[in-house]
Symmetry: C2
Subunit: 343 residues, 2 copies
């Protein structure tokens, strides 16, 4: 990489930087008035499946907030859809699958072929966005972890505990592994095509890894994320975000991924200790903290920056930004990071 390497990619590669880059999980949406206007006009999957809309939404926070990386507007559940599962996005409810995966015949019936064709709209959105983005703003592509995708496919909706998904795995581990293999296979194909289409880095969201015990995590989630990372790490930098899985930080620091997302339950100090400072860390402000009064928010953001330090670090929230977050506070958060120097 030469000196023109964008800040975000420099930090992700562990190269020296003057300040940490910043982006925000779910930055493209929810809290932005222009996004809400589009949301009221087009349903969720129309926004995902129309490259012009996905591009417009992806660029919105870059223009309006000034972040250091863009993330393509899409959803982790395009993968079950591409496998033949009908996923609806219900208002005030979230994802809903009328016929969840529960039996062997359901798993056998899942189709993992023709990703290129079935998710063509994503690849077109990536290409279109790359043309519009300034050169110094990299584009992040993403997918859910196989475990997290299984959670939705089996449970059939969001859940606090994903008890049905877990019981499915514990009652019939062989079938669970068959399903996880299928999801892993299609996810690798999908992310390869996304990289070919132009994304500069990839993030794997293991949003529900935290519902598993530390031992079950090593059976049902870690090995499949590792498999995806192994297949892709030579192509582009990979960020792994295992929410609630502080117990896996050490393992993830050793598999050749470039970045590791940290949630707010883990301190910077613990995360650095557990990862042996082997990997760029990303995070970890509690999204609810963006509702704090501005002075408090500035203080907390500076504390976060001082604790992580400005090298091998990408500033972010510890999970997706919340709806109704005041836009001014998002700007305060981002501007505090952009003017930070702890030298």
């Amino acid at each position: 990489m030469n000196d023109n390497t964008p800040l975000f990619l420099r930090a992700l590669q562990g190269l020296p930087v003057d300040r940490p880059p910043v982006w925000i999980m779910r930055q493209a949406g929810r809290y932005l008035p222009d996004f809400m206007t589009l949301k009221n006009k087009y349903d969720f999957f129309t926004r995902c499946q129309t490259p012009e809309l996905a591009t417009e939404i992806t660029l919105m926070p870059i223009k309006q907030i000034g972040l250091d990386a863009a993330i393509i507007f899409s959803d982790i559940l395009v993968i079950p859809q591409a496998m033949g599962v009908n996923v609806e996005m219900k208002n005030n409810f979230g994802p809903f699958i009328e016929f969840p995966v529960r039996k062997k015949s359901d798993v056998l019936g899942l189709n993992t072929s023709n990703v290129e064709e079935k998710l063509d709209y994503v690849f077109r959105a990536v290409k279109m966005t790359k043309k519009e983005l300034p050169e110094h703003i990299p584009l992040i592509g993403f997918a859910g972890s196989p475990w997290t995708i299984l959670c939705y496919m089996v449970q059939g909706s969001g859940s606090k505990t994903f008890d049905i998904a877990k019981s499915f795995c514990f009652e019939n581990p062989e079938l669970a592994h068959m399903l996880l293999e299928k999801i892993t296979h299609i996810t690798i194909e999908y992310l390869k095509k996304k990289i070919e289409a132009g994304v500069d880095a990839v993030q794997i969201f293991d949003s529900w890894g935290g519902v598993l015990s530390h031992t079950d995590y090593n059976i049902f989630s870690f090995p499949y994320i590792k498999k995806i990372n192994d297949a892709l790490k030579a192509l582009k930098p990979i960020i792994i975000y295992p929410k609630g899985c502080w117990h896996a930080i050490n393992s993830y620091s050793k598999i050749g991924a470039s970045g590791l997302g940290i949630d707010w339950s883990c301190s910077a100090r613990n995360a650095r200790y557990l990862s042996g400072n082997n990997i760029t860390l990303q995070g970890n402000m509690d999204p609810s903290r963006l509702f704090s009064p501005k002075n408090e928010l500035i203080k907390l953001t500076k504390e976060m920056l001082n604790e992580f330090g400005n090298q091998k670090y990408i500033a972010n929230l510890g999970h997706g930004i919340l709806p109704n977050t005041p836009v001014d506070n998002v700007k305060v958060f981002v501007d505090t990071i952009k003017s930070f120097s702890n030298d």
Copy 2:
């Protein structure tokens, strides 16, 4: 304490035992057919508020499963009710508060007096249960942590993130602390009366401590639990269960509580390390693991026992037992513990 001290209390006091005692969070209900019969006959708060029913339900798992401690059938939300908040328990939804606490006037309007009268039905249930219980089976009383009670009172229902409750605290910390003080005050009064009525130990459920960051936990949850513990620890042994708060294990091991509940995200080894082996640990099987085939469940239970060791340990799940858990598997779990010896 003399040699007649029941096994559960011996373990909780750190006295030598031949095997670890076992009880199960939410053991009185859900998975037991006789409980489901009562559930179909009487609504939730009728069951809580009728001492005869609460006693019958509390004794059910002692007679049918053979656990080493009973826990009084009740709910953490009797506290907001006693403060004048109308809490409904909706089928297939959980707790619902039509008028949640959001403004200063709401907080000021909460009434923390007359606990003895308002929660008289709990104290009568405790007395009645104590009369029926065999002498070697202690009775556990409980309350929610002030933070967890605030979560419900402000959010108005269950939630994955308790974002409204958190924003309330972060936008107006003074008001949040005023509310937490009020809850702490009434909770101490309530637990004192429960101890007077006859409970042998008290568990504080901080079921939603895990939604806070490690720093915010020390602002909004830990100090209030410590205050309750300080007020009661000379009276009866206290168990603190801070779900998802591995970062607080070390602090809790130093405040003179008797027991600390561990969830399944934290290994026994980590929990022993973080607590400096200063305190009896309780936990931590994933409730979903009770859906495993029997041989697997026996193997996992033995692993848990070997990892925690048989001293200063109370076997339990890492959270409440799930509805639909096979009763036979509950027996397998309990019997494996009761026949355990790692000497």
